[in-house]
């Protein structure tokens, strides 16, 4: 079973969100997602100050096996990206919820937080494949 921390929110496309306060969320991909991808060898980060709609493609994670889009989990503007991933993309494998975070997002006014999954909902959504 993959580790799914209770204090985070999730999307069906395997992003996690951590509430940093003041409408800012940190975003990464889940332990389940990195395990499915295998060894991660390249990350294309979103651009700081760029605004995205919910479910917009805003980056790419590439493993030895395949390329996988990162979707913006809610409408908002990117305020920070994890530059360390440029040289050490494997941080996502080693530490998906901490050192392997991908970007931070300041939510737009009409962000639909209610569309996110709880830890329990996310666990159920991956139960068949996990």
């Amino acid at each position: 079973m993959s580790y799914v921390p209770d204090n985070l929110k999730y999307t069906a496309s395997h992003e996690w969100l951590e509430d940093l306060g003041n409408g800012v969320y940190r975003v990464g991909i889940t332990e389940f997602a990195q395990a499915q991808l295998g060894d991660i060898v390249f990350v294309e980060l979103p651009e700081v100050d760029e605004s995205y709609a919910q479910e917009d493609e805003c980056g790419v994670v590439e493993s030895v096996k395949t390329a996988s889009d990162i979707y913006c989990p809610l409408v908002g503007t990117v305020t920070a990206v994890n530059d360390a991933l440029e040289d050490t993309p494997e941080l996502i494998n080693d530490s998906p919820y901490d050192d392997g975070w991908i970007f931070e997002l300041e939510l737009g006014e009409d962000a639909d937080i209610g569309s996110l999954l709880s830890a329990e909902d996310y666990r159920n959504s991956i139960a068949d494949e996990d």
Binding site: G38, D39, E44, V64, A67, E86
Partner: protein
């Protein structure tokens, strides 16, 4: 899904299993990159039991294979191996395969798993009229042991002396068939043995510290070694002349299937070729990405990926013959990124051959 006799052993070793052309095979046992490095620096092993072994024997076995294969089977010494393409009458590649000469009247051929049915059908059709028989050896397993420590690791475990077996030769007894061949660019062997004995050998290798490796590492290793993958780097819609396999075509006569079509191709002009590519900046080259030189010449990446040994993105691409090699750019997600063309292979015997 079909399973090899080592299926349970893979699961026990923590393999992630995937559907590979109807076979349930290990893609990795945790980290594909660690498996890759094990083969480049020490020794790794692969279950390749899904591959098909066909024995050809008879007074005219040589004549049959001389017609069937584009490379020259008559050049072989006893126990020597030959890489060849098998062409249809249009010059397209039905499969690539390895043939071992056992004697003047007996050969062992190993073909790809995904092409088994069509290969067997083609063999059956083409063997008509020759005084020769073909027999698939279905009750065998095949384990590849590859890496700089492969020979030293495997010898004590086998009741077969390999000390005189040079690269691209084989040794065999009644139970074991050991070819000093592989698909990694490293020294090593491919062992064909009775299915019932496979798990024992696998476990002995495991106990001896040999890293089990999945299909993922097999793919990055063969790509670094500049070796073709059937169905991706070539298929029935391309001739060997256009995809970097002209070296496998014998030149001295036209007595093989597809020879006339190749002659016509040469006469009308071969306008494609295979190149090695390295991405200059960050990103990953992938199968099917388009390339161009901005001057009207283009091409397509047939195999691409991250190279763990060189820590760069590498690829093989089939391109227009006159493409400007210094101006090749690859299209990745709406961006054009500069590549440089390099000689194949990218890596041989553990070392990067990519020049800066």
């Amino acid at each position: 899904m079909k399973q090899t006799v080592l299926n349970a052993a893979h699961r026990q070793a923590g393999a992630k299993m995937v559907d590979f052309g109807g076979w349930e095979m290990p893609i990795n046992y945790g980290s594909q990159i660690e498996e890759h490095h094990a083969v480049r620096t020490a020794v790794g092993m692969f279950d390749v039991s899904h591959m098909t072994v066909i024995d050809v024997a008879g007074k005219e076995a040589t004549d049959f294979l001389y017609k069937l294969l584009a490379n020259d089977i008559t050049k072989l010494f006893t126990n020597q191996a030959l890489y060849s393409t098998m062409l249809n009458h249009q010059g397209g590649v039905i499969d690539d395969l390895i043939t071992y000469k056992i004697s003047d009247t007996a050969y062992r051929v190993v073909v790809n798993a995904a092409t088994r049915e069509k290969d067997l059908a083609w063999f059956s059709q083409e063997i008509e009229g020759f005084d020769a028989t073909m027999q698939e050896q279905a009750d065998t397993a095949m384990i590849a042991v590859q890496g700089p420590q492969a020979m030293a690791t495997i010898q004590p475990l086998l009741d077969l002396d390999l000390s005189d077996t040079k690269r691209f030769y084989a040794a065999h007894n009644e139970q074991l068939f050991v070819g000093r061949t592989g698909y990694t660019g490293e020294d090593g062997v491919e062992i064909i043995l009775p299915a019932a004995r496979a798990e024992d050998l696998w476990n002995q290798l495991l106990a001896g510290g040999v890293q089990p490796c999945g299909l993922g590492a097999r793919d990055t290793l063969r790509l670094e070694a500049g070796m073709h993958l059937y169905g991706q780097d070539m298929d029935e819609n391309i001739t060997p002349l256009e995809c970097g396999l002209a070296w496998t075509i014998r030149k001295d006569n036209l007595e093989f299937n597809g020879a006339m079509a190749l002659e016509e191709k040469k006469a009308s002009g071969v306008n494609k070729k295979l190149v090695g590519l390295v991405l200059n900046g960050r990103g990953i080259l992938r199968h099917d990405q388009p390339v161009s030189d901005g001057q009207g010449h283009s091409g397509i990446i047939t195999s691409g990926g991250y190279s763990p040994t060189t820590e760069q993105a590498i690829a093989m691409a089939v391109v227009d013959k006159d493409i400007e090699l210094d101006a090749i750019e690859v299209q990745i997600r709406n961006k054009s990124l500069p590549c440089r063309a390099v000689k194949l292979p990218f890596v041989r015997n553990g070392k990067s051959l990519i020049e800066d």
